[in-house]
């Protein structure tokens, strides 16, 4: 493994972390459109919190996918063709929720507005859940052949471990979204988000413990890297505790950063466990490795230079755009 390959493995991890941190909360906010927000006026405000941002957040996913193609095409090809149907469902979910925000605001009848609100809610749920399921089943190992082609059966994707993984990621996104709403609104929505999180955090703890137990039985993470895996699982629990403390003590930033770091630590856990592989095959001889899945040194070198010169500029205006929309949105009056 060369240092460039190592850098790119880390970079892919960073991009996915960015995606989960950012899209995590807008998935969460999307899920809340139908249940948490009680009426049209409230839904306007809830959707408005992510209005200027969801699109940019999703670009992190597109960038992560593109970067994977540009650095580890074997990984990209195996993962994307192998997870064909799950990725297709994710795409459908992302499409429905993506257009729903724009379309819903312009619907004249309640029926159609209702339709797009459900599209936002279900789309966001499915996207978060399916991503959780995809990555969980991926680390459990998949049937991959010599050519790197994966032909998985239903139970390879859908089993107890992957379902728990999917639910855990969904709940993480949900609390992250609620923490975001606490930061971005004031009035009744802000209070309600706090109340919801007081109930959801104990559920999340239970999910995380169950996930950690299944992780021990379903993957080789604890065998191969007992120390780092344990440390990251502990870190996940600690940041979740901090976030929960932020809920109980009403420290909004602490909660938000805590739930975001919770999602990031899941990504770190996965990438740490994968290393030095990128795809885990049931037959270890066919696992894809960092060293033989990457592009040529020329392309990696080029991409490194380009990425390190463009990404800082992107980050500056990306962060600036959040700063521009920093102000809180008022909750609609109760009689509205």
């Amino acid at each position: 493994m060369t240092s460039l390959q190592f850098i790119w493995f880390i970079l892919i991890g960073v991009l996915f972390s960015g995606f989960f941190f950012l899209d995590g909360f807008d998935f969460g906010v999307g899920m809340l459109v139908k249940s948490f927000a009680k009426n049209t006026a409230e839904r306007d405000v809830v959707i408005r919190t992510i209005g200027p941002h969801w699109d940019g957040n999703e670009v992190w996913l597109i960038t992560a996918g593109g970067a994977m193609f540009a650095s580890f095409p074997m990984w990209y090809a195996t993962l994307f063709s192998g997870y064909y149907l799950i990725l297709f469902l994710i795409l459908a979910a992302l499409i429905f929720r993506g257009v729903s925000f724009e379309f819903r605001a312009n619907m004249e009848t309640d029926t159609w507005r209702n339709f797009w609100e459900w599209a936002a809610t279900i789309g966001s749920f499915c996207a978060a859940f399916l991503f959780g399921m995809l990555f969980t089943s991926m680390i459990a190992g998949m049937p991959i052949d010599k050519n790197g082609d994966m032909t998985a059966h239903f139970t390879d994707y859908v089993n107890l471990f992957s379902l728990v993984g999917g639910v855990a990621v969904t709940v993480l996104c949900l609390v992250h979204g609620l923490n975001f709403i606490r930061l971005k609104t004031e009035g009744s929505l802000r209070d309600r988000a706090l109340a919801w999180n007081k109930i959801l955090y104990p559920v999340l703890f239970a999910g995380e413990v169950l996930f950690a137990v299944l992780l021990y039985f379903s993957t080789d993470f604890f065998d191969k890297k007992p120390l780092s895996t344990t440390a990251i699982v502990v870190a996940l629990v600690i940041v979740t505790c901090l976030a929960y403390w932020g809920v109980l003590g009403n420290h909004e930033w602490l909660s938000f950063i805590g739930s975001g770091l919770g999602l990031v630590s899941v990504v770190v856990l996965i990438f740490n466990g994968l290393f030095p592989r990128v795809m885990i095959a049931n037959n270890p001889a066919y696992s894809l490795l960092i060293k033989n899945s990457s592009n040529s040194p020329y392309t990696l070198h080029l991409m490194t230079i380009l990425t390190f010169s463009i990404l800082p500029i992107v980050l500056i205006y990306f962060i600036w755009s959040y700063w521009v929309f920093y102000k809180r949105l008022a909750s609609p009056k109760q009689d509205a």
Binding site: G51, V59, F88, E102, V314
Partner: protein, 483 residues
């Protein structure tokens, strides 16, 4: 398993065609609208004329819908290389991934961030700063076109690579050659100019329908003027860049060029050009045609003499060149009818656009009322609203069908590129669902644009996330100033 005569290759190709065509309804429309809206807002910034601000906001609404659909269908594009074409991804990763990743990093972030800024900050920033946002969106979306065309150009004309002897995959040796590919610099202006034409004629068509109803006459006449000026400049630009591109093809992809002109046999020195013709694909011959002398040479070489190779000759040449590697049972003929008629639709429409723009600008002179009296002209203009979408599709049909049987010209065939592990059932399911989703989104798009038009430019609350709560209108002053 089901046996409907369907195979992975056919379904994967159909899916790529369908998703790309649908995606490409919205891409040029969005790029073009960003440009037109940016021009309108710049006029507002310069002149301080509120009409231009109203225009930018009004046509900006359509831009936002189109952009949303373009973004979500774009994700399919990126994912499907890996999903349906895994062998292609492995073969081309070293070249293809780079422009795709740079596209996301350099272009998508810029577009998506600044579109949010533009949409929600009317009245919050100095008008020049706000105008800058839409220019950055426009700049970002043009950049994204540049990068994806860089990737496409390699598929049409591979440059700056070697074949890795161990893996058999392509490997980049010169990034400069990849982005300096003449194919790219012939293709890019044509695509961008075409995008500007698309938006201007959709706007012109919408204006025409409203003018027929005598609705907001001053507003739509002013919009029409902006649209037609832009439409004229860039339809002429499209024709010029299209001419440049097709002359480039004669040497670079002679098979594509010969099919566009329906030439099975080599042309004679007289340069007979078939205006219309019928073909027998099986026997590889032209069954009938209406010919005009010298035009072929004028189109090909800008002079009256010269000859152009026909498909039968080129087929033999390609067999001689590639049989050693790909075997002698390859078929190098491209779908002649598709290319021939697509080319005629595209170039005919290009000329029509330029003509309509000239006539429209004359009728729409400031002091004249001619435009209101010439109702036939408004009907034609109104119908031509749909034409750019057909033309854009025709253009890509030529480019992509003309690449047959290659996915990467001379290096990899389409048949060798498909994912071997994806089942017919999966592909069939996804094709059906995508089709239904696209149809649904297309209908909603049309309904929304129609509603915007019906509501008219004075309707304040049509866009974004607005509701009865006026504080939430993104276009109103003080939105977000809640504390």
């Amino acid at each position: 398993m089901l046996n409907l005569g369907l195979d992975i290759l056919g379904l994967a190709r159909f899916q790529f065609g369908m998703t790309t065509v649908f995606h490409f309804f919205f891409v040029p429309f969005s790029i073009g609208l960003a440009f037109v809206v940016a021009v309108m807002e710049t006029m507002y910034a310069i002149k301080g004329d509120e009409d231009y601000k109203k225009m930018a906001q009004f046509w900006g609404k359509m831009f936002l819908y189109s952009f949303a659909v373009g973004v979500v269908t774009g994700i399919i594009q990126e994912f499907q290389f890996g999903m349906n074409w895994s062998e292609y991804s492995r073969f081309m990763g070293d070249i293809f991934g780079a422009p795709l990743a740079i596209e996301a990093l350099a272009a998508f972030f810029m577009e998506s961030t600044f579109i949010g800024m533009w949409m929600f900050t009317w009245g919050r920033f100095n008008k020049w700063v706000h105008t800058l946002f839409i220019w950055l969106v426009m700049f970002g979306s043009s950049l994204s076109a540049l990068w994806i065309l860089a990737a496409n150009s390699f598929m049409q004309n591979p440059l700056g690579y070697i074949i890795n002897s161990k893996t058999g995959h392509v490997q980049m040796v010169s990034f400069g050659k990849v982005i300096g590919n003449p194919q790219l610099w012939n293709e890019f202006p044509h695509v961008i100019f075409g995008a500007f034409v698309t938006a201007s004629f959709v706007i012109a068509g919408c204006c025409a329908w409203r003018l027929l109803k005598k609705d907001h006459v001053a507003f739509y006449r002013k919009s029409l003027n902006v649209a037609l000026v832009i439409g004229l400049i860039f339809s002429v630009g499209s024709i010029a860049s299209g001419d440049m591109q097709s002359r480039y093809l004669i040497n670079n992809q002679p098979m594509k060029f010969a099919a566009m002109e329906g030439l099975y046999k080599n042309s004679t020195n007289k340069g007979e050009w078939s205006a219309v013709a019928g073909f027998d694909n099986k026997q590889h011959k032209t069954t009938w045609s209406v010919d005009v002398p010298y035009v072929l040479n004028l189109l090909s070489y800008h002079k009256t003499t010269g000859t152009v190779k026909g498909m039968n000759t080129i087929n033999k040449e390609m067999h001689a060149k590639y049989d050693k590697k790909f075997g002698s049972d390859m078929n190098y003929y491209v779908p002649t009818k598709t290319l021939f008629w697509s080319f005629r639709i595209m170039s005919g429409a290009g000329a029509l656009f330029a003509l309509l723009a000239i006539v429209g600008l004359i009728f729409n002179r400031k002091k004249s009322q001619a435009i209101m009296k010439q109702r036939w002209f408004l009907y034609i203009l109104g119908l031509c609203l749909w034409l750019p979408f057909i033309v854009n599709t025709a253009g890509w049909f030529i480019t992509e069908f003309g690449r047959y049987p290659w996915i990467v010209y001379g290096l990899l065939t389409i048949a060798d590129a498909v994912s071997p592990n994806v089942s017919v059932a999966s592909l069939l399911t996804t094709n059906i669902v995508y089709f239904l989703m696209f149809a649904g989104m297309g209908v909603v798009m049309i309904v929304l644009c129609h509603r915007v038009l019906k509501a008219g430019p004075d309707d304040e609350l049509t866009d974004g996330y607005a509701s009865s709560d006026t504080d939430l209108d993104p276009y109103s002053k003080g939105a977000f100033n809640h504390d």
